[in-house]
């Protein structure tokens, strides 16, 4: 494993760690959803990098599927956030 690859893996891992901190810390549900969406996007980049490292081109398909699932889950969460019953909505 060459030095640039190690640095790149380290940077993405650090970014995922920060994002995980935000998932735990985020004060409201939308903040956590933003962090989870970013985490899925980071996992996409990590998978592409891993595909290059192991010379397995099939892993690029995994990255595409991850992008699809991240988009669907974000839209579903947004729908849920908009439709849920909040205490101040009940009159």
């Amino acid at each position: 494993m060459s030095l640039p690859t190690i640095i790149t893996f380290g940077l993405i891992s650090l970014a995922m760690l920060f994002t995980l901190v935000q998932v735990v810390r985020g004060p409201t549900l939308p903040d956590r959803v933003v962090a989870l969406d970013l985490m899925a996007t980071l996992a996409m980049g990590f998978t592409a990098l891993y595909a290059v490292e192991t010379e397995q081109t099939i892993l690029l398909d995994v990255a595409i599927v991850l992008a699809l699932i991240a988009f669907l889950s974000t839209v579903a969460f947004a729908y849920f956030i908009e439709k849920r019953e909040l205490p101040w909505h009940k009159s």
């Binding site: 690859t5 935000q22 980049g45 290059v52 947004a78």
Partner: protein, 132 residues
Amino acid sequence: MAQIMSMTLFLIGAAFMLVAAIGVVRMPDLLMRLHCSTKSATLGVSCVMLGAALHFSEVAIWARALAAIAFLFATAPVAAHVLGRAAYVSGAPLWLGTLSDELRGRYSQESHRLTSPPEVLEAGSGKGTVSG
């Protein structure tokens, strides 16, 4: 040569991703967090995908990488918009230093429909209401 270029793209992409993560942790507000994470992470993943395509340099891999980048560029703004709208409508708190909020009071509480300001509605009366 292609290896050097792909490694450079990997490093640039990882740096963009790290900037996105730092922004998500540091920003005080949901909308600012969306602003950080969406654009920067999309650019970072695009750089990494281009680097992978350069590394393998086959037609099928190029097609896959470009398809992934096109999908990201199409879906990331939509997801951010939908999430930001849902959070704003459901009353997510804005940053205390926010200077102007032009959408305040424009969303109806029941239907979540957006209406124009009164002066616009008066100027355009007779041509129907503008809603989005």
